[in-house]
Symmetry: C2
Subunit: 416 residues, 2 copies
């Protein structure tokens, strides 16, 4: 009799019919003899709708009041799921984040969980009830409501699994698991059986929407094995865990593509110390996350600085740059939207040479130009033309034999 935490996203509880699908799945797990705690998000597009409602009242609603408003979304879905379970003869009890014991740091719309006192949840599941917990929310020590920011329900589920010392943490989503590459880009994309936390973290940060980065961090910190799987079938999905059995055998676990990048070029930056710092400090203060950065040295004591930001941040970026660029005496700025970032991720590359070379070779073989390169310990990213993303993904996928099962790759590696 295992203790299982399951998490269902907004799409999975988007209608009364879908809530019953979830309820039946939960009830089936209970019938197998397990104790279950379920974390759910707000129904469908509820959060977006509530945000729009707030903005119809005020252009700048106070964050505290926005959190007060948004937390109603999950409160609705947990109560309805508990009603559905009860109606299926499966006793259930819903909990808001604060009732569940989620203690947050007091930041209204981007709070972190600082403690999860799951005593009431434990009492419920030990008492034969399904605990239905509102994801995405908690309260600070004064009882002020906070939300965890987008994707926060994943974090709630992993933190709850840690607090309960659960046997399993299942994140249900609309895909079968984590793939070597987005299957919409590359038909040969293969579902991974396992992936380690650091690789998942890189992929999640690179825009793989299957799991939120903070949930992965939380899983890593507390050693919670996260099972990412589909809510539409009973196939096993992908296990996110500390060490994977194939870890050393392969260099690259997967590929991430991000087409929401904009390249910004600051042209004719005087070659003096502190100039780049001023530019990036201005961006940092404006809350803009700068991604790939490259500085090319030109003649005449001038540099060009190139970097990328998320497309959403473009207006803010230009607004923050203009006065700074004028102040430091750079000549002008331009931006380009038809770019994409393609990355390979794998903890195996740490101890292997030639991974970057193989990636560049694959791109060169397709005649794809690399505009910016950036690397971390376990990741290599290249900025390329957006209309070549599909070709690039396919070529890299082939180059690293990602369509083949890990065992085969390992055998080949042993032979070579």
């Amino acid at each position: 009799m295992a203790l299982i935490v399951q998490k269902y996203g907004g799409t999975s509880v988007g209608s009364v019919e879908r809530i019953y699908n979830v309820a039946r799945r939960v009830a089936a797990t209970v019938k197998e003899g397990h104790r279950v705690a379920v974390v759910v998000s707000a129904m469908g597009h509820t959060t977006d709708e509530l945000e729009a409602l707030a903005h119809s009242v005020s252009a700048r609603p106070p964050e505290r009041e926005m959190a007060m408003l948004l937390t109603t979304g999950e409160q609705v879905s947990v109560s309805l799921l508990a009603m559905a379970l009860d109606n299926l003869g499966c006793p259930a009890c819903s909990f808001t984040g604060p009732q569940a014991g989620v203690l947050t740091d007091g930041s209204p719309l981007s709070a972190h969980i600082i403690d999860f006192n799951a005593v009431r949840i434990k009492e419920a599941v030990d008492g034969g009830k399904v605990a239905v917990v509102a994801g995405f929310q908690g309260a600070d020590s004064r009882g002020e409501l906070n939300t965890l920011g987008r994707g926060g329900s994943d974090t709630t589920a992993v933190a709850l699994a840690a607090a309960l010392n659960a046997d399993s943490c299942e994140i249900y989503t609309d895909v079968d698991g984590v793939y070597t590459v987005d299957p919409r880009l590359v038909a040969e994309a293969r579902k991974l059986d396992e992936i380690c936390y650091d690789e998942m973290l890189e992929l999640a940060n690179l825009g793989a929407k299957v799991l939120h980065p903070r949930a992965v961090e939380c899983g890593k910190e507390h050693g919670v094995v996260i099972h990412v799987r589909s809510s539409f079938n009973n196939e096993p999905g992908t296990l996110v865990k500390e060490e994977t059995k194939m870890e050393t055998g392969i260099a690259v676990r997967g590929i991430a593509c991000d087409t929401n990048q904009v390249k910004i070029a600051v042209i004719g930056v005087p070659d003096k110390p502190g100039v780049a710092a001023r530019i990036f400090t201005a961006l940092g203060q404006a809350g803009i996350n700068v991604d790939l950065i490259v500085q090319s040295v030109r003649r005449n004591g001038e540099n060009d600085i190139l970097f990328t930001v998320q497309e959403d941040d473009l207006p803010k970026t230009l607004a923050a740059l203009e006065p700074t660029v004028a102040a430091v005496g750079a000549r002008h700025i331009f931006h380009q939207c038809d770019v994409a970032k393609i990355s390979v991720v794998g903890v195996g590359m740490t101890h292997r040479c030639g991974v970057a070379a193989a990636m560049f070779e694959a791109l060169a073989g397709e005649g794809i130009n690399i505009e910016i390169i950036s690397t971390s310990e376990i990741r290599i990213s290249c900025l390329i033309a957006q209309n070549r993303v599909k070709d690039a993904a396919l070529a890299i996928h082939k180059k690293f034999n990602l369509a083949e099962a890990e065992l085969n790759i390992q055998k080949k590696a042993a032979k070579s």
Copy 2:
């Protein structure tokens, strides 16, 4: 600088535009130099819509889960009103019932307020903020969410005024105050300047929807003067208070008409001790509130028992009666819907003779037959034909000179 509690119902906050109307009224009160705490209900028909949603999930949703669902309604309206106030430059802070300190008795859908620890509300208003409090809700000592039942926001407001020792408790509604009789029935209906708690309690229990009976009880218990007034103008409304200055001068304060009554007749009840008790015990156990009761003695050792119930309770009443009626050996039951209860209320009638006689005279003058009569210390009720309600109300209104100001009536009384 007074401390004022204001309460606005669901209609007053039914849209973003209406929320701004409320916000402007609150902001104006703040500008006059007062500290303000506002209690609001859920927007428009939100509560009905949430109930319908719950019933689309389950025919019998657990009460606890229903409370979890319904309490989101006020949480939405308080956050939006706080945003609107903030946008008008009037600092505000919203509170759920539990955050406001409303401690309830743990009954999910018909809880009573057992304590109001308004320390956070006091802190907010003393700190120059408008406290926006969710009506209709609270939490028990475990943090379980409870609702106070329909009309509960009135009770929240009065209890908050008591807890804060507020200078004034204003209940805003869509009518100008409490009238001598429903103005839709009698054009000469006059708005009362004052009414005492007991009279208001009788009128509220008789179906006057302007103020919830429990709010009146709470006001009486804590000596809170309640000002019932319109949210559409700035006219003074009706003060509900302990003693009114004209109290002894007049016999009848107002008239209440209730057309949602059904007359039930149990025919041929054996004239034996305990039979009536069995019938009314069965109704009580089914949760049915029985109103007017009369037993008429017939020949042959048989009685007829007549009583009224609310129209909504008719199916439950018949279901509860049928087995009991068979068991006690009564002959049959029938019911009649085209009846109405008309009542006169006034604390002055306690010490005056002839009030009932005058009422019966007024009805007789119109040729209106009285089917059942019931009285309390300060009330006389008659069951009459529903299609004669308007004539009855007008005749009684005239008989007791209710269209005239209290001062005139008192002068006349002194002369006679």
